[in-house]
Symmetry: C2
Subunit: 340 residues, 2 copies
DNA sequence: ACAACGCGCTCCACATGCGTC
DNA sequence: TGACGCATGTGGAGCGCGTTG
């Protein structure tokens, strides 16, 4: 026996298709009694609405897109993605909305996917990750006139909605903490410089130099890979004047850096303090466990998903939503510098 | 101006809707010349098929589902998921098929989602992870009569298709290696006992005991968490007769176990060899780096995705596909036991 | 409460034209 | 001359639902 349709229900309940539709969607137009009868029949026949048919009528796809243009393997490496995906998923599931995932190789393919999925009405909106400085995706998506929620920001000069994490505040907290411990030579192993949040963290750092009268503060951009984290660490620890503290923009790099310190006989935290701007299981599993800035990435994504659903329901909205600021969790990798 | 439809193209090209449909889908029924003209017009008008309309017509959703019933946070922790997701994605993208992801809390919700998504024709098939012993999902999915590809196996007593990794072979390799090094007391910190692959690995181990005349071989089931990995490690290392080697079913547990060894002053690999059945960046970042059984999870998933697409195209098929056997990568965490 | 239509596409039954035996 | 095959295209029913008169 085939999948039941509203026509089947109508026949069985002795009413018209229209009445069934009204009843199933809780719309006026049928009496309470027939509504109940219809619902009973639908339930009995195990009816479920056909997504495509529903979408065709009301032009709601019932799905949102997440398109990532990172090399596919980083998906497995960075815990961040898993957290974002499951967080988004949780927020969307409340509404029965699905998450469509696409991993592409380059930004061009990413842009093409936005255009195609919008034109095909495959999704009702998008979630964007990792906003860039002068991000070309923003004007393109504004032109497409499709609901978008950016995870990150605040974003200047855009009408897109976003949910921003206060990276500046967090970086302040980190630097203040290191300065309070007595550190005056600090290196920041940063992420990709085109990322907006990388820039924001770097800015705080240069500013902090003056404020705390630090002797040295440098930000060194990387591609977030463990190998670059290791290379940079080896380089700065090989200098005559070593930093006494290093701040890493990801826990993967921080762990790699810790490995280099060990390999070079630099004791952590006695000779070198390590602070990770990113927290996950990884930071807790090492010895010493890493002091880190931690935040509820999953909750952040869930909230962003809810906002996106609101946006889809009412496209005239614009959301500028602050998420919770990352919190410093001191563990074993930070201490006052030697002789302090 | 609104989204163009095939009717618009038909009008502009001076042909019928049917001809346009044929031309756009590469079907016979139109001459090469008109086909070209139609394609040119479609391209010029920037036409894209409306997914819902297409689905409604040919009853193909153009998407496959992946439903996970693990606590949401493990998604961010286990690199395995990210690799599977991006791997599947890569295979599906070749066909323009989307991946719909759902994370649920419990097996009941997982089953409900299979039923709903099938009934709603939201997806054309499913990918299943982590097959269990007497898995209740199998008969349910067989009853739903929907294409399914299981990542894991081989599975007895099911008509579902699967792509199996040779866990037995891999475990043999691991144990043979440890035995060859001279280890006679081996502990296996296993995964969840209801998982089919866990059982298979355990079976190999008990069998290996006799074959290699080992003094001790025990498998201890866990929930894959770092904390259980640590607890079990602490326990077995506290015994009078310590094991000289531990095999962990996941790299997260292996790293946690390594931490415990360090904390207890047990030197790795001099006093204790550690072998992880699971490889990822994690296993390489530790000191010492972990000897691990490595495999191309992403490629495995990609191949499985392709098979699933084949299955969807021809539901009469059944696929029993072996994937490549995991390979032992010796790193720094394994060595002959003391006094050998 | 009903009948009928529309959403955009697929697909099938059926013309139409042309050359061939 | 007509009957037939083939290639090319047309028209429209139908997919399952929402919605209007």
């Amino acid at each position: 026996m085939a999948r039941p349709t509203i026509a089947d229900i109508a026949e069985r309940a002795g009413v018209s298709k229209g009445a069934v539709s009204f009843a199933l969607n809780g719309r006026p137009g049928v009496s309470e009694e027939t509504r109940r009868r219809i619902l009973a029949v639908a339930d009995e026949m195990n009816w479920r609405p056909h997504r495509a048919a529903r979408s065709l009528g009301n032009s709601r796809a019932g799905a949102v897109g997440l398109i990532l243009s990172r090399p596919a393997r980083t998906l497995g490496l960075e815990p961040f993605f898993g957290q974002v995906v499951s967080g988004l998923q949780a927020g969307l599931a409340e509404d029965g909305t699905a998450l469509q995932l696409l991993v592409v190789e380059d930004p061009e393919a990413e842009m093409a996917a936005y255009r195609n999925w919008t034109a095909e009405k495959r999704v009702d909106g998008f979630v964007l990750l990792d906003p860039l400085i002068d991000d070309p995706r923003f004007p393109a998506l504004e032109a497409l006139d499709v609901p978008v929620m950016v995870l990150g920001g605040p974003l200047p000069d855009t009408s897109l909605s976003y949910s921003w994490a206060d990276d500046s505040e967090a970086m302040h907290e980190a630097v203040d903490y290191l300065a309070a411990l007595g550190h005056r030579h600090v290196v920041h192993v940063a992420g990709m410089p085109q990322f907006l949040h990388t820039k924001r963290r770097m800015d705080v750092l240069t500013e902090a130099k003056a404020r705390h009268e630090l002797a040295e503060v440098v930000s060194i951009p990387t591609d977030y890979s463990d190998s670059e984290g290791a290379v940079i660490t080896r380089r700065v620890l090989s200098r005559r004047e070593r930093p006494t503290a290093i701040v890493y923009d990801s826990d993967v790099m921080a762990v790699a850096g810790l490995g280099v310190a060990l390999e070079m006989g630099v004791r952590v935290p006695q000779d070198l303090s390590i602070l990770s701007f990113d927290d996950s299981l990884l930071a807790r599993l090492t010895h010493p466990a890493l002091t880190a800035l931690t935040r509820d990435t999953q909750g952040w994504a869930t909230e962003a998903a809810r906002e996106l659903l609101r946006l889809i329901a009412d496209p005239s909205l614009t959301v500028r939503h602050p998420s919770s600021t990352p919190v410093l969790v001191p563990r074993e990798s930070t201490a006052p510098p030697a002789g302090h």
